[in-house]
């Protein structure tokens, strides 16, 4: 009890509170701008934290992270361009809702689902971190590869109407991710002698291209005269359309809990990440919903599923870091840097040496969640106005932000060029009804999947038995094969039915 009292007294000091609020506000803004993201903002803030006291610094960094996780959903809902890749799943139902004039409702669901999942995930971090982490470290490369294989197939199989198109999209993502120096042997792949391609293709130009530029191209394709005449969205006269009732929130709770569970599990594993968690949660919500046909057309639960899935990784991603000193994601690695800068070595001994600071940080995380809710809710009134702007004003700004974001991330005009190339790729994919989400997921997972797959084979001296010899990998591979078989049968049956109808 003493330690809790100490923690409370330590965290609620003027500068700590200001730092958390400033971090959240900054996070929401960088999260919302395509190309900028919380990871980058944390990296830029790191050297500055050298000159700050521990809790001011850590509060600020945690604020950026949590704010950024929510911020990405704002642009996803309003203009169909996710601010960060983590919010890509939020687009699927958020944007259709905004088109129906329900932008306010979607944004509110996003913030409530985010904060609920975040709080629950933080509680898991505080309560059972040690147990989960000791399990996560024992997972072999083969197990991780199997879990990734499972995630890939799930997302590839359900995101679109057609399985072959989904798989094609998945493969394209894989191919793009393989460009550059091969991570295991140091051999060049698909670089065609272009030096800039040696380092591979970054997530930012890829993501901003396939979502941001693609969306702009889709809008440009519509006649300019139409754009001038009408606004992007139907304006809603019904006040209820931009509110979120408690009843609606309560109805979404089971979805949020499910998303939290998935997000926490995925977050605690190294390298899989929030984007995948969001899509898995969305897919699960769609599968288990009584109205799965409504998903993708403006289902409020779809927003709740995606946002709870990605935000639940927030607390969980710190589990391996705090208990073992192993960062499981880029943001966790940034946070590790912030801790080390303050002289706190993350790992099993952190609680012995710095108990008060860590408990104060936990309280600060909870407080940051509340701030996220308040600032996010206040912001919605302003953000929702974006939906009222005519497209001819919004989209030029989007292009400028995309270019600025991509350029600032790497300082390379080459990346800006890549962004446009992917913009056109995404445009044609959407024109021909290829789903884009599987491409994003496979792009994100490829490096980790390839590495764990090849590590597993090195460690087993080339024997594929390693994937079937232990329970975790065996379970996930069996599940994956079952899903493929199930999908195959479903498609076959559908085909038969079509045939019967035709005959």
């Amino acid at each position: 009890m003493d330690i809790l009292y100490d923690a409370l007294a330590t965290i609620f000091q003027f500068y700590n509170v200001v730092a958390i609020i400033a971090g959240i506000s900054l996070g929401i803004i960088v999260g919302a701008v395509p190309g900028l993201g919380p990871g980058m903002a944390m990296a830029i803030a790191l050297p500055i934290t050298f000159y700050m006291p521990p809790l001011v610094s850590l509060g600020f960094i945690v604020g950026i992270y949590k704010g950024g996780m929510y911020g990405g959903s704002i642009t996803a809902i309003l203009i169909n361009v996710p601010g960060t890749s983590d919010a890509a799943a939020t687009m699927l139902d958020g944007y259709p809702l905004a088109q129906k004039g329900k932008a306010g409702k979607a944004l509110k669901m996003a913030i409530y689902a985010s904060v609920t999942a975040d709080i629950l995930s933080d509680i898991v971090l505080i309560m059972v971190a040690g147990w989960l982490a000791s399990y996560a470290i024992k997972l072999r490369s083969a197990d991780i590869a199997a879990i990734m294989f499972f995630s890939l197939v799930i997302v590839g199989s359900v995101s679109g109407e057609s399985l072959p198109k989904g798989l094609f999209s998945c493969m394209l993502g894989f191919l793009v991710a393989m460009v550059g120096i091969d991570p295991m042997m140091g051999v060049r792949r698909f670089t065609f002698g272009v030096l800039e391609l040696d380092r591979g293709i970054d997530l930012i130009p890829f993501m901003v291209g396939i979502f941001g530029i693609t969306e702009v191209l889709i809008q440009v394709e519509k006649k300019i005269s139409d754009l001038n005449k009408e606004d992007l969205f139907r304006k809603s006269e019904n006040i209820e359309d931009n509110r979120l009732s408690f009843k609606e929130y309560r109805r979404a709770l089971p979805t949020i809990f499910q998303g939290t569970l998935i997000g926490t599990f995925i977050g605690a594993l190294p390298g899989i990440g929030a984007t995948t968690a969001a899509f898995l949660s969305y897919t699960a919500a769609k599968k288990f919903s009584r109205h799965s046909e409504r998903f993708g057309k403006g289902e409020l639960n779809g927003v709740a599923a995606a946002e709870s899935g990605n935000n639940a990784t927030c607390g969980a991603t710190f589990i391996p870091l705090f208990t073992l000193g192993v960062p499981g994601s880029i943001t966790a690695a940034m946070f590790m840097g912030a801790l080390i800068i303050q002289g706190i070595q993350p790992g099993p001994f952190m609680f012995q040496h710095h108990a008060t600071t860590i408990y104060a940080l936990y309280v600060g995380m909870m407080f940051a969640n509340v701030c996220n809710l308040l600032i996010g809710s206040l912001g919605i009134k302003i953000f929702a106005r974006i939906a009222l702007l005519p497209a001819r004003i919004i989209y030029p700004i989007v292009v400028a932000l995309c270019m600025a974001g991509v350029f600032s991330a790497s300082g390379s005009l080459f990346d800006v060029g890549l962004m446009y190339i992917f913009g056109f790729v995404g445009f044609f994919m959407r024109k021909f009804d290829f789903p884009i989400a599987p491409m994003l997921i496979s792009f994100i997972l490829e490096p980790m999947f390839e590495r764990s797959f090849r590590q597993a084979l090195i460690l087993s001296f080339g024997s594929y038995k390693t994937f079937f010899s232990e329970p975790v990998s065996l379970i996930f591979i069996t599940l994956t094969l079952a899903i493929i078989a199930f999908e195959f049968v479903r498609v076959k049956r559908k085909g038969l039915r079509h045939k019967v109808v035709k005959d």
């Binding site: 990296a43 050297p47 000159y51 470290i137 550059g180 120096i181 190294p270 790992g347 001994f349």
Partner: protein
């Protein structure tokens, strides 16, 4: 009628308003032109003045948030104060800093473009890949000491000493696995150099970062790890045992083996981080940079950084090219022998 007249007045007012605004715009425009001119003039003037007369760019070859980037930003902050101009820091990542090296090599040697790159990008990479630069493409300004490098096992590993490990590896060729942070990087090459000296064959498992490599060790997925800094907290807390100091520095006392005692020399592979500019920067500028850097590496905040991240505070301000050249000469044959040369 009344309605019309009020509109008339409104229009009149609007006209007045427009005029006022135009006046304001003209003033703002004029001010802008004056500012532009003065900037332009000062630029022209600056070119004649002594270096540095404008912002200096120092890019890091690794991504934001890592130790190289942090070092660069913190050192640059002090450097800016010393030189009296702003320092612009960016990141040009890829190819273990060889992408940044290629970029720097093509810049004008006017003293406004520098990079903080890995030593192996200068001494080893040219033998492994076709690159647009070689060791003579740069002006060498300053060099920071290498990261610590130790061979580590978990505290309950059956290998109690380095000799245990070697004798087991001798009878089981290829069966001993170890993790490092990337093919061709320092912590991989040094282990291969040692394996060659001992005549043993090991199986390497590449990870992508220090913490990830150490996670493979703690999770008991590999027999030992090549620890390049991330292992130190574990070693200090007793979770890991150091069997060999692979960089030649002495950190862990007499009980731990040291490569210099074993082989009489350090490995030709290094992990220096080097401040380089394009070839042909005038000695005057290099000296000024050196002076400022010498102040920076003695500042408290830099020493704190090194301490927190287990980096050495040693540095080299003289004979950098000679030191790297010597390693460069040994690297070619060595990489060829372990099969990592250009294919």
């Amino acid at each position: 009628m009344s309605c019309n007249s009020s509109r008339h007045f409104e229009n009149l007012e609007k006209g007045e308003d427009m005029k006022r605004r135009l006046d304001q715009h003209a003033i703002i425009l004029f001010a802008l032109i004056v500012i532009c001119f003065s900037i332009g003039l000062s630029g022209a003037y600056a070119a004649d003045r002594q270096w540095p007369s404008k912002a200096v760019t120092i890019n890091a070859g690794f991504g934001p948030g890592g130790t190289t980037d942090l070092t660069n930003r913190i050192v640059s902050n002090i450097l800016g104060g010393q030189l009296g101009v702003p320092i612009i820091n960016g990141n040009v990542t890829g190819g273990a800093t060889s992408v940044l090296c290629s970029q720097i090599a093509t810049k004008k040697p006017d003293g406004y473009e520098f990079g903080l790159v890995a030593g192996t990008a200068l001494t080893a990479m040219p033998f492994m890949r076709d690159l647009a630069y070689n060791i003579d493409s740069f002006t060498y300004v300053f060099m920071l000491a290498p990261d610590p490098l130790d061979l580590v096992v978990t505290d309950d590993s059956p290998f109690k000493t380095f000799e245990d490990l070697v004798s087991y590896a001798k009878t089981n060729p290829g069966k001993v696995t170890y993790s490092h942070t990337g093919k061709g990087l320092y912590d991989h090459l040094v282990v291969e150099w040692i394996a060659q000296k001992e005549g043993i064959q090991l199986t390497d498992v590449p990870a992508t970062s220090g913490p990830e490599s150490m996670a493979l060790v703690i999770g008991k997925h590999v027999a030992f790890g090549s620890g390049s800094g991330s292992h130190i907290p574990y070693a200090k807390d007793g979770k890991m045992r150091v069997l060999l100091e692979m960089d030649g520095a002495r950190r862990w006392g007499d009980k731990v083996r040291n490569v210099v005692d074993l082989y009489g020399t350090e490995s030709p592979v290094n992990t220096y981080r080097v401040f380089v500019g394009p070839q042909g920067i005038s000695q005057d500028i290099v000296d000024k940079m050196k002076q400022a850097l010498l102040v920076a590496v003695k500042e408290e905040v830099y020493i704190k950084l090194c301490d927190r991240f287990n980096m050495s505070t040693d540095y080299y301000s003289e004979n950098i090219k000679e030191l790297l050249q010597k390693q460069y000469n040994e690297m070619g044959p060595f990489l060829e022998k372990i099969g990592l040369g250009k294919k």
